[in-house]
């Protein structure tokens, strides 16, 4: 049985990646298992300058899901290059995906340029969809023009494949996907979290200090499947599918909808071995559904 797929020209042993923000720079998981079993992973959303993010509480819970309002805490691109990447080299030998965020066009460009030159990095995943930052992070992902603008600007300075990560909090994700493709994106990744809120009945206030947070986990799987399905129909570039994946059968479902590779996010937090276990379980599920090669089923629901 063949689990291999190719994402923007780079072969993956299997389509399972850990999603940005739920896997740090890999170190915490590398202590638990050999993370080279992963297809790859997308590291924590990185910005030009270091960021603390939002004050706590940053986490809330909901039925089959969680809200986070971490707000892109990261040490900044320089420290990532000087400290995290060299450290990562000791335990992860495959190309890693660099997740980049920004608050202005120029910031995206500078951060991507710096990361593009790092040999360990396979793909740039440009997050134009983080809903937890005030001052613009969201707006890039909610209109086709600005999404295209970021894509073009980043593409101009990068040699590596650029994957644009889309927000689900939009009326028409296909329009944004097409705009990114037209602007030169090599791939798309979706979905980021849905904007959500929980309130504390005792204090009568929102639980999160940031008021709103991003909903992820199994609760959003049907929304993610629909958006991957729609975007697959709208573009020709590969789609990285995510949102609620927590089993090998979810991986297959997401690939049928149109994903070339998938990412597992929140599930890593509640079950630290989940990516390893999903990868182990893939051949059994492939066998169950008569799948010889995973790359054959990409977008299989559309044929």
């Amino acid at each position: 049985m063949n689990t291999a797929v190719t994402l923007c020209g780079i072969p993956l042993d299997n389509p399972v990646m850990a999603a940005s923000g739920t896997f740090g720079y890999g170190a915490e998981f590398a202590e638990l298992y050999d993370i080279n079993c992963l297809g790859s992973f997308s590291f924590k959303g990185t910005t030009l300058a270091p960021r603390f993010g939002n004050p706590t509480p940053r986490i809330a819970e909901s039925a089959s899901g969680m809200l986070n309002a971490v707000g892109l805490q990261n040490p900044g691109v320089h420290k990532v290059i000087e400290e995290e990447l060299p450290r990562m080299r000791a335990f992860f030998l495959k190309p890693v995906m660099a997740n980049v965020s920004g608050f202005a066009l120029d910031e995206y460009v500078q951060t991507c340029r710096l990361l593009d030159s790092q040999p360990q990095i396979g793909w740039l995943e440009v997050n134009i969809s983080c809903p937890n930052v005030h001052g613009g992070g969201m707006s890039f992902g909610t209109c086709p023009q600005s999404a295209a603008e970021v894509t073009r600007a980043v593409k101009a300075v990068c040699k590596k494949p650029v994957i644009i990560k889309l927000s689900p909090n939009v009326s028409d994700i296909a329009a944004i996907a097409r705009a990114c493709e037209d602007a030169g994106a090599d791939g798309l990744s979706l979905i980021n979290t849905l904007v959500g809120m929980r309130l504390d009945l005792k204090t009568r206030k929102p639980i999160l200090s940031n008021v709103t947070g991003g909903l992820s986990g199994p609760a959003i799987l049907p929304v993610a499947l629909n958006m991957v399905y729609r975007v697959y129909r709208a573009v020709r570039i590969p789609v990285v599918g995510m949102g609620g994946i927590s089993s090998a059968r979810d991986v297959v479902e997401m690939m049928l909808a149109g994903a070339t590779a998938v990412q597992v996010g929140a599930a890593n937090l509640v079950d630290p071995y989940i990516c390893r276990d999903i990868i182990k379980d893939l051949p059994r599920v492939m066998d169950q559904y008569g799948i010889n090669s995973l790359s054959d089923i990409i977008g299989g629901a559309h044929s």
């Binding site: 915490e28 998981f29 706590t56 509480p57 986490i59 969680m66 986070n68 937090l269 630290p272």
Partner: protein
């Protein structure tokens, strides 16, 4: 950190809405008092963090208060049931700096981690004391257990047991060399305001993972940004910013 299934040995109410649960299973990842576990409660997406109250080679004791759905579910567990836990999380208390007369201060369900701490301090030949604070007598637990180890002062807000008032209303002994505290945020802050000796405090934050992956629990400290689940939950009095 280890992940595993733990078997409930016993689960009994020990005070108002407060339960003691004994579990059997791998405790090899526990190295210091003040570490915690993160456990799956039926049907809830996130795990629940609970401090380890005591442990030995074959199992551990947890003490928890029913405050919501997850802890409510826990209270319905029966002997023989199994619980999925991440074990050995966080840094825990450092006893090497305690001096001879450390003071332990616990408020409500902040007390559990102080129990293993007290045992260890006593084992190390130190002479700790404990101030335990509650709202009222109905909430008091583990008084005897602690009294077997060390001198205990109980405070209650309503005066129904021990000294009326807050834990900070009890002046620490003059010879106090250090303090260790765990409890509600306002208690910890007040305590830091009035303690003259150095100390360590265990904090709580809402957690996504409990093992350092999500940055869900990061706080500013004077020594940089720290994850409560990984670099904490125990912090030095000196580093905390109130």
């Amino acid at each position: 950190m280890t992940q595993g299934l733990y078997t409930v040995r016993s689960n009994r109410p020990i005070a108002a809405l407060t339960y003691e649960m004994q579990l059997e299973g791998d405790t090899s990842a526990l190295v210091r008092p003040g570490q915690f576990v993160n456990l799956r409660t039926g049907g809830h997406y996130l795990r629940r963090p609970l401090s380890v109250c005591a442990w030995d080679a074959s199992g551990m004791t947890l003490i928890y208060k029913v405050v919501g759905e997850g802890t409510d579910w826990l209270s319905t567990c029966m002997p023989g049931d199994t619980i999925d836990m991440l074990c050995g999380l966080g840094n825990g208390f450092d006893t090497s700096v305690s001096g001879q007369y450390p003071l332990l201060v616990g408020g409500g369900v902040g007390l559990p981690p102080l129990y293993q701490l007290a045992r260890q301090l006593v084992d190390e030949g130190k002479q700790p004391r404990l101030i335990m604070g509650f709202n009222s007598e109905r909430e008091v637990f583990y008084r005897q257990e602690f009294e077997r180890l060390l001198p205990v002062t109980v405070t209650t807000m309503d005066g129904s047991c021990g000294v009326r008032g807050l834990v900070t209303d009890v002046p620490p002994a003059a010879d106090c060399t250090y303090f260790y505290a765990c409890g509600p945020f306002p208690m910890l802050r007040a305590l830091c305001g009035c303690m003259t000796v150095p100390g360590q405090l265990s904090l709580e934050e809402r957690m996504g993972c409990g093992f350092g992956a999500c940055m869900g629990c990061t706080i500013h400290t004077r020594l940089g940004d720290k994850r409560v689940c990984k670099e904490g939950p125990v912090f030095l009095k000196e580093e905390l910013i109130w």
